[in-house]
Symmetry: C2
Subunit: 297 residues, 2 copies
């Protein structure tokens, strides 16, 4: 671990008493490494009096209070770009898995139903579909590139229409959901996008519609999603993220219309190494008084 | 069913005695609808004295003896093109599922392991991989188009290098397997491609290599595949086809390195309707003395 060459590294989870550590060593801590869900533990906010850098291992930093960090003069970095292509790959893996029923087909063969029950039910064609992207940022663009190779039509929504982008722009998520066969959520998390996809949007997506969420659980109203899946008002959902991870409601687990994964859109060996290297490089730049590579504030 | 408007239709599987039917009505049969695995049942070959057209519902016609059909003056049609994009979609669904472990991740969440056992093991990056395509026909080209959108390198092998194709050509499957991270088999079935991918090719693909077969089970030496998966000489396999369908060997079913599906690469509602329509249109052309739309011979 390259950090050990330069720093004393303390692992928060392995501390017998985080309180005692903060009381005794809090003012020695210069750098905190965290992620966008964990943020900065509230009990150490005041104790870390000399905290100068928060390094967020991931692109989303929704649990990090930027107002507080700014007020304290604390710099924040994240790890954008290095994970974007993996997340886009995984979004496409989920889209194809839900249209073509990959996990159910795998179970069908493993449970020896092919010989006994005959042909697997026909699935749904993906190519030629209308693909709606909620939030056309770095990851959204990479998803659009990939999806376009499947002869699809691409639409998107976001704060504004983007110059030089040929995909169809929709001013609201509701309008995009009404047009799309599959809606892929790729926005940041946080208060600005909380429940951006709620009951009205899911009903507009409709009984044949597919929701794919590789962003944050908070962006989708999970109880509305459960209702719409149970009533058949929404066709299917492929979910990598949930409102209270790692808790996944029983009704989502038992639904035949869901494909689920444990927040792994960027979870490849290569990308996690690249993210860790970017965290380390940012910290070394900071300590050496040089420019941060991927600053948030 | 449009055929019923024009013809007396007999369903082979529903006959109490195919023998008795052939003896009594065999010479009345003008058209036989079958698929590339079932072919023409041997017991009716001679009885169908006036058979004029074999309509193969599918692109592969490996079980249809073209020499015999030619000698008898029987025309054969199949259903190419209409299923190609679905098969390419499904190949990509399997590729992404195996690299990113979609079925295992889905099981992990459903079995409530996320909360109890923590993070799912890191998977393997797909983008940037070397993708080797065995048989760059219509389907192979559509797979290459799709895979290229994931920033991959594309290589292929086939009977000859194709003009105007920028992908890297390899003269043998063995050479392609030695270069590729993932080998996608898209050849026709039949004697010409029997066990084209065998032990040497699987070992060349190697302990990190991935085999994807959406062609025919006969193209891959299944017992060599089982050996290489068990010994770890091959990394993983995603298989839509098998040597003795619907039988799948227990060792393939119980392997943690396989993703399996019951021969569904073209099994979407839309494509099966298009295939059926093409079969009917060919039959109507034939009966009306017009040119066949998709002749094989």
């Amino acid at each position: 671990m390259p950090l050990l060459e330069h720093f004393d590294v303390v692992q928060w989870q392995s501390l017998p008493s985080p309180d005692a550590f903060c009381a005794r060593h809090g003012s020695d801590v210069r750098v905190l490494i965290t992620n966008g869900m964990a943020g900065v533990p509230s009990l150490c906010r005041d104790a870390l009096a000399n905290l100068a850098l928060i390094a967020c291992n991931g692109v989303g930093y929704d649990a990090i209070d930027l107002g507080w960090a700014d007020a304290r003069g604390i710099r924040v970095i994240n790890t954008p770009d290095v994970l974007s292509a993996d997340v886009a790959d995984f979004a496409m893996a989920l889209v194809l898995a839900v249209f073509r029923q990959v996990p159910a087909a795998d179970r069908y063969v493993r449970e020896n139903k092919w010989g006994r029950q005959g042909a697997f039910p026909l699935a749904r064609r993906f190519w030629g579909s209308k693909v709606g992207i909620v939030g056309l940022g770095r990851i959204g663009h990479l998803i659009a590139n990939r999806a376009a190779a499947f002869s699809t039509q691409i639409g998107y929504t976001g704060r504004r229409q983007q110059d030089g982008v040929a995909y169809s722009y929709f001013p609201t998520v509701l309008a995009l959901a009404g047009w799309a066969d599959v809606l892929i959520v790729t926005t940041p998390g946080g208060a600005d996008t909380h429940h951006l996809v709620s009951r009205a949007e899911l009903e507009a997506l409709g009984p044949q519609g597919v929701l794919v969420n590789i962003a944050r659980g908070s962006v989708v109203n999970q109880s509305a999603l459960i209702d719409c899946l149970e009533s058949g008002q929404l066709g299917a959902a492929a979910l990598d993220v949930f409102e209270e991870e790692p808790h996944v409601p029983e009704s989502i687990i038992h639904s035949a219309s869901t494909i689920l994964s444990p927040h792994i859109a960027s979870a490849t060996v290569q990308t996690r190494q690249a993210m860790a290297a970017l965290v380390v490089d940012n910290i070394l730049q900071h300590i050496n008084g040089k420019c941060l590579i991927s600053p948030v504030n």
